[in-house]
Symmetry: D2
Subunit: 337 residues, 4 copies
C-alpha cells in the first residue's frame, strides 16, 4: 500500500492523504478499484483524526482506494473555500484515476458532522460530483450550519434531481447536531426522487465515527457500528461490487423512477404522468382508464412500466407508448433543475 499526504493548498493548509492498494498480479482482473473520499468533521474548527484514518481503513479493507481530505478551517473556511477544497481533491483523484487505479465513476464521499455538511454540499452543489455520498450525523439545515460557519449554505435548498444517491445515518439522541438535520435531508431526497438509504439509531451521542472498539462502548445502541458494513453493502447496490472477475454492474439503478429524466418515459410514476396533458392524451388513447384503479397515494410510487405489466400489453404497444412519451419534454427534468 502506498500512503502519502499531498498538500493541496499551503495557504489554507488543505491536504489530501492517499491510501492506494495494488491491482493486477494476484488481484487478477481487478484493474481499478472504487474509491472513498473521507471528510472528517470538527465544526469547521478542526479535522477529527477519529473520523479520518479509521474510516479510510474500513473502506481499504473492503477493497477500496481511500483518501482523506483535510479542508479549510476557521478563518480560512469562508464559503466556498471548503467546497473548493473538495473540488480540487475530487479533480485530482479523477485526473489521476489511471495511475492510482481508481474507477473514476465509482467514487463515494463519506463525511461526518461538519464534514457531512461538506459531503452533502459535494452531493448537491459541486461541479465535480461524487457518485454516491455517505453522510454521518451531518449538519444540513442552514440554521445549524451557520452555528459553526456563518457563511455555510443550507443544503436542503440545493437538493434536486441531480443529487447523487445518499446514505444518511445518525443517532436519535445526538447531543450536538439535532437529528432533525438528517430527517430533513432524507425528506428532501425523497421529494426530489433521489435514491437513498437511511439509518437512525436510537441511542448515542455525537461523534461516534465507526463506533469501533476504541469508542465508549456502553453509551450507544449496539446496532450503531453496523453502518460501516451497511454502507459498503449499499455502495455495492448503487456503484457495483468488487469480484475476482472485476467490478460488477450496480445491482439497482441509481434512479428511483424516471420523473427527472429529460423526456417522459415508462419509468415515470403514474402520478407524474397524470400531471402532463400530452401524456394523458397519449395514454388515454392507448390505454383507456390507465389512470383509474390505482390508489391515490400509490400512484406517486407506481411506475407506468410496472402498471403496464399487470395489463398484459403486447410488446409493440408498449414500444409505441414508450416512443410517444419519449417525444414529450419532462417539465421536472433534472437537467433543467
Amino acid at each position: 500500500m502506498r500512503t502519502e499526504t499531498i498538500l493541496l493548498n499551503p495557504e489554507r493548509n488543505v491536504s489530501l492523504t492517499v491510501y492506494l492498494q495494488p491491482v493486477g498480479g494476484e488481484y487478477g482482473r481487478i484493474e481499478r478499484r472504487p474509491a472513498a473520499l473521507v471528510i472528517p468533521g470538527g465544526g469547521y474548527h478542526f479535522c477529527s483524526d477519529r473520523e479520518a484514518e479509521p474510516v479510510a481503513l474500513a473502506y481499504l479493507k473492503a477493497g477500496y482506494q481511500a483518501f482523506v481530505l483535510r479542508y479549510s478551517l476557521d478563518a480560512q473556511a469562508a464559503w466556498p473555500h471548503p467546497l473548493d477544497d473538495y473540488e480540487q481533491a475530487m479533480g485530482m483523484i479523477r485526473d489521476n484515476a489511471e495511475e492510482w487505479h481508481v474507477a473514476a465513476d465509482r467514487i463515494a464521499v463519506i463525511g461526518f458532522s461538519a464534514g457531512g455538511h461538506l459531503a452533502a454540499c459535494a452531493a448537491t452543489m459541486s461541479k465535480n460530483r461524487p457518485n454516491a455520498a455517505i453522510l454521518g450525523y451531518p449538519v444540513i439545515d442552514g440554521v445549524c450550519a451557520r452555528d459553526y460557519l456563518p457563511s455555510a449554505p443550507d443544503v436542503i435548498a440545493h437538493v434536486d434531481g441531480n443529487t447523487c444517491p445518499c446514505f444518511v445515518f445518525a443517532t436519535r439522541t445526538d447531543n450536538l447536531v439535532p437529528v432533525s438535520n438528517t430527517i430533513h435531508m432524507v425528506n428532501a431526497l425523497c421529494e426530489n426522487d433521489v435514491a437513498f438509504e437511511s439509518h437512525i439509531y436510537s441511542n448515542g451521542k455525537h461523534g461516534l465515527s465507526t463506533g469501533d472498539a476504541s469508542i465508549e462502548g456502553d453509551v450507544f445502541s449496539e446496532r450503531y457500528p453496523r453502518w460501516v458494513e451497511d454502507s459498503l453493502s449499499w455502495l455495492a447496490d448503487v456503484l457495483g461490487g468488487i469480484t475476482p472477475g472485476g467490478l460488477t454492474d450496480p445491482r439497482f439503478g441509481a434512479k428511483i423512477n424516471g420523473n427527472r429524466e429529460e423526456k417522459l418515459n415508462l419509468d415515470c410514476t403514474i402520478a407524474h404522468l397524470m400531471k402532463s396533458a400530452p401524456a394523458r392524451k397519449v395514454l388515454d388513447e392507448f390505454l383507456p382508464g390507465w389512470d383509474k384503479g390505482t390508489p391515490g397515494a400509490a400512484a406517486g410510487v407506481i411506475r407506468l412500466r410496472d402498471g403496464l405489466t399487470y395489463r398484459g400489453l403486447d410488446a409493440k404497444t408498449v414500444a409505441d407508448i414508450e416512443a410517444a412519451l419519449n417525444a414529450i419534454d419532462n417539465p421536472d427534468s433534472a437537467a433543467r433543475g
Copy 2:
C-alpha cells in the same frame, strides 16, 4: 408451547391467536416474558398470513410471548372498529398477564402496511397503550390511509408527547405505500420528543415482511432482513432484556429529554428552558450566562443536566436548581397534550 385462536368478535370475525411459551423449571428466574402483538397488513381488505405467524415465530425464538390480531376488514372496518379490536386484544393480554406469563409493561405492537397504520394508531390514540411500537412500511398519512379505508384517521395529527417509543422501517422503493409515510412519521416523532429508531433500506418492493428465505431474494437490499434482529435489539434497549436472572431494566430511558414532563426539570433541553420566563429567572440567578455559548441548534438537543456537568457545579447547587425548576409548570407537558 400453547397455541390457540380466540374469537374476540364473531360479528366482525376478529380473533387473537396466542403463542405461549413456558416459564419456570429450566427457565429459572424468567417468570414473565415480554410480549409481541403482531398486526398483519392487507389494506384493511385481508390479513396477510405472511405478516402473521412468521413474524410471531421470530419473537417467540427471542423468548417473547407472541400474539396475532386479525381485525375488522372491509365493510366491518369502519373506524374505530379496528382500533376497538386492538383495545380488546391488548386488554385481554394485560388481563391475562399472570396466567399467560406476560410482563404487562413490556408489550410491543408490530404492524405492517395497513396493520402498521393500526399499530401506529395504537401507539398514538389508544386507551390501552403498547409499551413500544414497531411499524413496518406503515400507512401513516391520512391521504394514504383513506385510499384503503375512507374512515381511517391521519396518524401524524395524533403524535404527541404521550406516544410510545417507535421503531419504523420501510424500503425507499416501496411501490405501494410511499416511503414518505415513514419519513413523516419519523419527523413527527422527532418534533414531539418521542424516542425512536428508523431504518429505510434502499431497495425493495412493498410487503416484504421478515425478508426471510421464502421471499423473493433477488429484488431487495440484503440489509433488509436485519430489521428483525435490530428490532429485538432495540426492544432490549427500551423495554429491557431477557437474561437467566430474569428481565433486566431498559438500557436507555424511554424519554429523549424532559421537555414533556409535567414540571420543568434538569432533563429539559436548554432551548426548552430558554422559552420559559420563570425558568430563565431561576437559571440567571444560579448560573449567569447559562444560555450563552451553546450553538443555537445544539441548544435544542443539549439537556441542562449535561450542560451543568461541564460547569462543575456542586451537588447542592444542582439540587437547588432542580427543586426550583420542579416548581414550574411545563407548558408542553404531555399530560396536558
Copy 3:
C-alpha cells in the same frame, strides 16, 4: 401452526412433539418444508427443556417443520431402546410426510450432549437415516457414553462411508463432556470421506443450548450463539434452501469425493486411484505420468477430475477414462462398508 405431542411408547414414556407450519396460500410454491428433529440431552437421565422447544423455534423461524423427540431414560434406556425410539419417530415423520408437508429427503436430526450421542447413532447406525445431523457438544466415545448409559455404544466405531453429513460443535472448555469427543468424531468423519462442518468455540461450559439471551451471558465466547444460524446456512448448503419458488437444490454435493462409490470414478482422489492396480493400468495408458507431480499429501485430496482439468484433455478421452474406471469395483465402497 399446529402443535401436538404424540405418545410413541407409553411404557417407556417416549413422545414426539410436532410443530407444523402451513404451506400453500401466501407461501406460494413451498409445498413441503425441510424438517428438524430435535433430540435434547440430559445424560440419558432426563430430557432438557432448554434443549427442546427453544431449538425447535429457531428452525421453525427459518421455515422448517420441527419435531422434538423425548426418548427412553434411565432404567428404560437399555440400548437399543433410545435408537428404537429414534427409528419410530423418524418413521412416523416420513410416513406422514405428505400430510405434514415435510420434504422427506431433507430431514436433519439435532442432538445435544447425550441427545447428541443418540443423534450421532442415528447418523451412523440407524435403518431410517437422517439426511444430515447436527451434533452439539455430543457424547461420542464409548468410554464417555458408558459413564451415562452403560449399554451405550461407541460412535466412532460406526462411522463409515454411509454416515450422513454432520455439523459438529462444542466449547473447548466443556466441563462435563470432554471436547475430545467432538475432535474424535470430526477425525472419524474425515477419515471416512464424510462431509462435515465443525466449530469449536474457545470458552463456555457444558449445556449452553442455543446460547440465547436467557442463558448465562458472561461465561462464554460471544461467537457461540452463531452455531444456530451457521447450522441453518450449512443445511442450505447440503440439503438445499427455501425460496419463494420452492425448495432449491443443495449448493454442494453431500459427498466430498468418489472414494466410497461402488465403482471407481473421476471424483476419486488421485491417492485412492493409485492404490488400485486396475486403475493404475487404465490411467498409465491414457495419461502417462498421471500420478507424478502432485505433492504426496495433496494426492489424498485432489480428485482425478480436477487433475484432468489442468491437463486440458479432450472430452472424449475424459469420457473414455470415466468409462474404464466405472468398470472397476471400488474396494472401499460404502455399500460394502
Copy 4:
C-alpha cells in the same frame, strides 16, 4: 499511518513490512496497540500477496498494529531459515515496541498454508513466542510439510504445554492441504491442555485468504469469511480488548486448566490429581471420597476448584488444600516439557 518495508536479510530476501497507526491525541488512553504479524503462504516457493496486505488491513481496521513477514523461500528456505526469519521479525517488533506503540505481550502471528506451518512452528518451537497464533488451512503434519520443503519439521511432535493459544481454521474440501492437518493440530492442542478455537467450514478450495469480495464468491460456504471477525473476537478473549480507557484484561485465561503448571494446584483436573499419589493423600485426608461420583470422562475436564465449590467447603480448608497441593511437583509441568 506509517508504512515501511524493512529488509531483514538481504541474502535471503527476507523483509518485514510495518503498518503503524498513531496513538494518543484523539485516541485517548490507547498508548500501545496489540499487533498482528502476518505470514503469507505459498508452499515455501513464494509469498502470496493475497494473504499479506489484505489480512493486515483487517487487523489494522480493528485497531491493531500490523506487520507482514516475507521469509526465506526455495533454495534459501532450508530449515531453520524460515523460523530464524520469524525470530528476527518478532525480536525487532518487541525491541521497537515502545517506538512502534506495540503492546509487546499482545502479539499474534497469523499464517496461511505454508505460512501457517511457519506460524505453528513459531507457536511451538520458537524462542521468541507469540502470544497467540491464528493458523489458516495450515500445513502441520511432517509428511505434508516435506512435500513443500524437505527439511520442514512436523509440528505435532512439538506441541506441548508451552504452546500459545491457537485459533485454527480450514475448509473441509481443501484441495491442496488436507484438512486432516488442521484436525491433527486441534487434537494435539487438546491433548496438551492448550487453549484453542477451531472452525472447519464445509466447502471451499485452498487459499481463500480473507474470503473477501475479490475472491471467487460462488465456490465456498458463505460462513467462511467470518473467520476474520471471529479471530478478532477470539483475540479479545485471550489477549484482551481495545477500549477508550485503554487495553482491557483478557476475558478468559490463556490456560484451560492447571495441569501444566510447575506445582499441583486447584485448577488441575480431578483426573490429573488422581494420577498423583501425594495429591491423593492430601485430598483423601481433607475430603474423603473426593474422587468418587464424578463420571469417569468428566473427571478429565472438571477442575478440582469447581468440584470444591459444589461441596461448600469453608475458605480456610480450601486454602489449606491449595497450600498442600502447591507443595507437590507436577510431573506434567510445561516448564519441564
